[in-house]
């Protein structure tokens, strides 16, 4: 079965420091991977995706993610964290195996806390 794991419930980082939010996946076939961010009492906002091509993907708000096929990982990164980056982050894989409907399978989420 296709699945996503986010091993850290919470990541704490000081403002200005680099941040990494981890994600590993398990899929059959080529993975379609996504990162979303959720602010309190809001829906999900798309950050970036990996479909094919370069392993380093750049997205919104200065975020980037590195796709590593051998380690089945898709970690979210940012060189310099901002307090406003504090939010809940979700990694997701698209289940293209089942009827190409675009169903997303989400991880449990990681809370990012950036302290001034």
């Amino acid at each position: 079965a296709q699945s996503v794991a986010q091993p850290e419930d919470q990541v704490n980082v000081a403002e200005g420091n680099p941040l990494t939010v981890k994600c590993t996946y398990s899929v059959s076939g080529n993975p379609y991977l996504f990162w979303y961010v959720q602010y309190p009492n809001r829906g999900l906002q798309f950050l970036l995706k990996y479909i094919t091509g370069d392993n380093l993907v750049k997205g919104s708000y200065g975020f980037e993610a590195e796709f590593n096929k051998s380690q089945t990982s898709f970690h979210l990164k940012k060189p310099s964290a901002l307090v406003s980056d504090s939010a809940l982050y979700f990694c997701a894989v698209r289940d293209i195996r089942s009827s190409n409907t675009g169903k997303l399978i989400f991880g449990q989420g990681t809370t990012l806390q950036v302290k001034p």
């Binding site: 979303y36 829906g43 997303l104």
Partner: protein
Amino acid sequence: DAGVTQSPTHLIKTRGQQVTLRCSPKSGHDTVSWYQQALGQGPQFIFQYYEEEERQRGNFPDRFSGHQFPNYSSELNVNALLLGDSALYLCASTPEAGVANTEAFFGQGTRLTVV
């Protein structure tokens, strides 16, 4: 562009009641998916609608049903509400063309509380 809009934003219902949630997809999108996000969890896929038909369903009981209208908007209905149905319900839209590699756009969600 209004993006994905959902209504209502909050709802309180009593056990055993029925509820209807509504979603208007982003302009140009014809595929609508519904997700349930319980507190502290990631969103779980409920079902997807395309061309007014349910195309795929997640692991949810028949109490959960839906509908898609000719203008692509959608409803999620939940019958015989249980306390465990309390969650944030998210609607997501995608264009059918490129549905596999196109990012889904999410609404702000409907917070359902069952008491």
